[in-house]
């Protein structure tokens, strides 16, 4: 199994410990990661998608062509990157748009044929690697620890473009992946609510966006005994982590550690926390010390 690894820009710039966790844990599971040399911003929804469609698709084409040249599919952890690249690929199926983008890509001496598929980390772990393989590689299970899941909205909606769950309905794959580590996954009333951290919501309405996340955090506290939140999206990770401090400065009391799946997986595999879970706003010591 080999993929072109698309790190995006938040992960390598702000949360490189997640990147390290991915680079350590995936090869253990038999997944080889190839560099996508010269990849650029996905483009993020707030950039070209919001200003010019042909520029959006040119940038999508640029990125997809890198994996295509290598004969590989693209592996992405960030929900926004995943959704943007899937959306780009889907729009490029339209002949008219594609021929315009072909012209633009020619200026860059690149060629796009639509051969590479964009895959999210959750799906690759669940389908291509499988729960059994993950169980075999767990050295220090999270036995008896309760967790809740943040399912990244960008991997769920719109299902015809980003979805990977043939059962449809509520997502479950990340939950089963966490159970493979020995943890107990608890359910709660706001489980499928989006984190609220992407796009302009928090930027334009910080108080309202924090209140939106508070509803979820309150439900976790009231309805579960969760000791951690597991996500698989850099935006969910950064927002659910930092919003707790924001709420605490307004008199709240929130201290639920947030982990990307590959981080907690790497800890269960025995990799050092200083490398794979080094950066957080909400302290993670209670979980890290279990390893």
């Amino acid at each position: 199994m080999k993929y072109g690894f698309f790190p995006g820009c938040n992960m390598p710039a702000i949360r490189p410990d997640v990147e390290k966790a991915i680079r350590l844990s995936m090869p253990r599971l038999g997944v080889e990661l190839e560099e996508m040399e010269g990849y650029v911003c996905c483009p993020a929804y707030g950039t070209f998608h919001s200003s010019d469609e042909e520029a959006t698709l040119a940038v999508s084409g640029w990125n997809l062509s890198i994996a295509e040249q290598k004969g590989l599919d693209v592996l992405v952890e960030c929900g926004s990157c995943y959704s943007s690249l899937r959306m780009g690929k889907s729009l490029l199926e339209d002949h008219e748009r594609k021929s315009r983008v072909d012209e633009l890509l020619k200026k860059a001496e690149k060629k796009y044929e639509g051969k590479a598929t964009v895959r999210h980390m959750i799906e690759v772990l669940y389908r291509d690697v499988g729960v059994e393989k993950i169980k075999q590689e767990v050295k220090r299970p999270l036995e008896g620890v309760s967790a809740v899941i943040q399912y990244p909205c960008h991997t769920v909606y719109p299902s015809d473009i980003v979805g990977f769950d043939p059962r449809g309905g509520k997502p479950y794959m990340l939950g089963e992946l966490v159970e493979a580590l020995g943890a107990k996954v608890e359910h709660f009333s706001c489980e499928y609510q989006c984190c609220g951290g992407a796009g302009g919501f928090h930027r334009n309405s910080a108080i309202e966006a924090a209140a939106f996340a508070k509803r979820k955090l309150d439900a976790i506290k009231a309805e579960t005994g969760a000791k951690l939140i597991v996500v698989s999206c850099i935006t969910c990770l950064m927002f659910l982590d930092s919003v707790q401090k924001e709420l605490n400065s307004g008199g709240g009391s929130y201290s639920i550690p947030v982990f990307d799946y590959n981080q907690i997986l790497s800890l269960c595999m025995g990799f050092p926390a200083e490398q794979v879970a080094a950066i957080a706003t909400t302290p993670r010591d209670e979980i890290v010390k279990l390893f």
């Binding site: 010269g38 919001s50 200003s51 469609e53 919501f201």
Partner: protein
């Protein structure tokens, strides 16, 4: 009150490039699951559909609410009429940018200059602290960066606002 004389009937054709929003029947499903409907001012996507269909050009140009969208696409999934509210939200932003250059996101020139919105190339110390080396970035390869910029210079947004984009 809406002044009928000030309405632009074909506005929806200008705004939505590809799909037909006239199927919208005002059910508000798109609002009920929308995180940004809790923003201040709220993003009420159904109202935006009305604005576009009615042709309220000035009001639409001044409307900041599309920029609060978290891009979760829940509305896209739930709309029973295939209106694609999320795509409309992006289409309104694009239309605003076409008609008012101050709407153009500041991240665009950054993306043009270095390929990313985050300064990935400046994170080397942090990356090294967790045992990571440098990525093979477009900013590290002047020839490649030139090709990237040559491509973008052919797009409308960069052509028409070239003063914003520095090589």
């Amino acid at each position: 009150m809406i002044n009928l004389a000030e309405l632009k009937q074909d506005l929806y054709k200008e705004v939505t490039e590809h799909n037909d929003i006239r199927y919208c029947f005002n059910c508000s499903t798109c609002i009920s699951g929308c995180p940004a409907s809790e923003a201040n001012p709220p993003l009420l996507i159904r109202n935006l559909v009305r604005k576009v269909l009615l042709g309220q050009e000035d009001a639409l140009l001044d409307d900041d609410s599309p920029w609060a969208c978290v891009t979760c696409s829940k509305c896209e999934e739930m709309c029973p009429m295939g209106v694609k509210p999320f795509e409309l939200c992006l289409a309104i932003r694009r239309w605003q940018c076409r008609n008012d250059e101050t709407r153009i996101p500041q991240s665009l020139p950054e993306l043009f200059e270095r390929g990313y919105t985050q300064p990935v190339e400046k994170a080397q110390a942090l990356r090294a602290s967790v045992g990571l080396g440098e990525l093979s970035l477009v900013v590290h390869d002047p020839e490649l960066l030139k090709r990237f910029q040559a491509m973008l210079k052919e797009t409308k947004i960069v052509k028409e606002n070239s003063y914003m984009f520095k090589e």
